[in-house]
Amino acid sequence: MSQNVLDRVKGQFTAGELLETGSQHGDEWARVRRDAWVTVATFLRDDPATKMEMFIDLTVVDRFSSEPRFDVVLHLYSVSLKHRVRLYAGAPEEDPSVDTLCPVWAGANWFEREAYDLYGVRFKGHPDLRRILMYPEFVGHPLRKDYPKEKRQPLVRRQPNSVD
């Protein structure tokens, strides 16, 4: 359906910026180098042949034990042309960061905060990178695969030798 979006991106960016494209279950996707993350997203938004005006979703996948460990995943939709695309940008474990998309879509703000909160991926240039779902005192990033599901961090701690 939106193969022409991928063709358009392939024609515009070199192999150094655009790493891989593909299609699965009717969803078109493209993997970009993280240096080109904002450039490709801005191009997709502004180009008259793609017109991906609407920000849909941003999240992270933790591909534990493969490289790069984190994939930042962006979903876009074109209201006028009715097509979608999914973008990936890999971020290695030792430096989990990509550039922020806030200047491109203001709505990326909360989605990036959530991705930072749950996966610990930092968004460079984000105006307000705080935790959003967890509380500020929380230690670690709960959706990482190496965060144990049973681990508890109660906000109100019982005193070690309290009697009740």
Binding site: H25, D27, M54, F55, D57, V61, G107, W110, P142
Partner: protein, 417 residues
């Protein structure tokens, strides 16, 4: 009778001279931090707002969510694909069926069986989904009206919602924790006499809507609190990813049911209501109109629904019938494998989207080929709508928070997951 009386003036009240014009210098104010929530009577849902006010005016707002975070994604990664249905019930808890529909469609897309779902099951999904959409909008409108002091419309709306909930209870045994859908179809068929009962309820609901609209549409107090307050533009919607009734109130006619028809939505004749200004009243009006459109869809679906199986016929996906399970070793093992190992979903990634009560409900699933998801991400529509609130509230009065927040319809279970 003398009609030439001078118009009343309020220049002198009880001997106190009022200022001749309203240009009098304002009282000096200084910014005051004000905390609203997380538990506040005018907030449905649990959300905290840290406001900075100058007098009654909000100069900045920090909206803090997360008080209802219940680790949906983390829990899902440890559950089988079927066991996630109960978790999805609790996402948007006033339209749980729509979450069931969205999740079931996502898994079926990943398994490549979306085209094999029996037609009756698709119609059932449309019917229970549209009932849920009605209950969603009714709760939002009723609660918003109540917060503005109009208690009667709230009771009327909840009365109608109760009829629909009772009908859903007959279908699946629960009002909220429905878990009615399964991968491949539905858990059971619709009960006997369902169509007649639903038609009867729809007739009565039409009267309720007329009553509510008489109470609210031209109500001076209600209109003054909504008209022109909290304006969202189409550009905002694109920037923030706002869909659903909030997005359509701005005139952005994006409805997944029309733009990318799923299930059997392309067989129904219905309209997508849009607003023009994008203010609170448009959001109210769009939701009222959507209830009516849902009723149109329901009437057509009841006429068209075919007989036939309500679940896919594939022993790898559905449980064997109980009579088999208890009487043959093969069916017993099949039952055991599906319950314990889970349905095997091929490795891959998929983004599936459907129109929920608040807009585009997306599921982004990553499977590694086992019986449990590697990642099960929900794209909650009201998370996007809520994220515009800090910008929207700036410059409004404190009293405007109540209708603006109410009609955005932030649902804690969905926003915080």
């Amino acid at each position: 009778m003398d009609n030439t009386l001078a118009p009343p003036t309020r220049k002198v009240v009880l001997g106190i001279q009022e200022p001749s014009d309203f240009d009098a210098p304002e009282l000096p104010t200084e910014p005051l931090p004000l905390n609203m929530g997380p538990s506040h009577p005018a907030m449905h849902g649990t959300v905290r707002m840290v406001l900075e006010v100058e007098g009654e005016k909000i100069s900045s707002a920090d909206v803090q969510i997360g008080y209802l975070h219940r680790c949906f994604e983390k829990e899902s990664e440890y559950a089988t694909w079927t066991q996630i249905f109960p978790y999805t019930d609790r996402l948007n808890y006033i339209s749980p069926m729509l979450n069931n529909v969205g999740y079931a469609m996502a898994v079926e897309k990943l398994m490549g069986i979306a085209a094999l779902i029996p037609e009756r099951a698709q119609y059932i999904r449309v019917i229970v989904g549209e009932i849920s959409r009605m209950t969603d909008h009714m709760t939002c409108l009723g609660a918003s009206a109540m917060e503005l002091g109009a208690f009667t419309p709230f009771l009327y709306m909840l009365k109608a919602r109760e009829w629909l909930f009772e009908l859903l209870e007959e279908v699946c045994g629960a009002r909220l924790t429905v878990s009615y859908l399964r991968i491949g179809g539905c858990a059971w068929d619709l009960p006997v006499g369902f169509a007649d009962k639903l038609r009867n309820i729809l007739d009565r609901t039409k009267d309720v809507l007329v009553d509510v609209s008489k109470l609210l549409d031209r109500n001076r107090i209600f209109r003054d609190r909504l008209d022109g307050i909290g304006i969202i533009t189409q550009a905002d919607c694109l920037q923030y990813g706002i869909t659903g009734p909030v997005g359509r109130s701005t005139g952005l006619a994006y409805d997944v049911r029309k733009d990318a028809p799923y299930l059997v939505y392309d067989r129904f004749d219905f309209d997508v209501p849009v607003g023009s200004l994008g203010d609170n009243f448009d959001r109210y009006a769009v939701r009222v109109e959507e209830i009516k459109q849902s009723m149109r869809i329901l009437e057509q679906a009841l006429d068209q629904i075919p007989a036939g199986p309500y679940v896919i016929n594939d022993p790898r996906i559905i449980l064997p019938p109980k009579s088999e399970t208890y009487n043959s070793i093969e069916a017993m093992i099949a039952h055991f494998k599906i319950i314990m190992d889970g349905i095997h979903v091929p490795a891959g990634e998929v983004y599936s989207y459907s129109e929920a009560g608040n807009g585009e409900l997306g599921f982004y699933l990553v499977s590694d080929g086992t019986g449990r998801p590697w990642k099960c991400r929900v794209r909650p529509p009201c998370f996007a709508s809520t994220s515009i609130l800090p910008k929207l509230l700036e410059g409004l009065f404190i009293a405007d928070i109540v209708p603006t927040f109410g009609l955005i319809n932030m649902i804690g279970g969905e926003c915080d997951r």
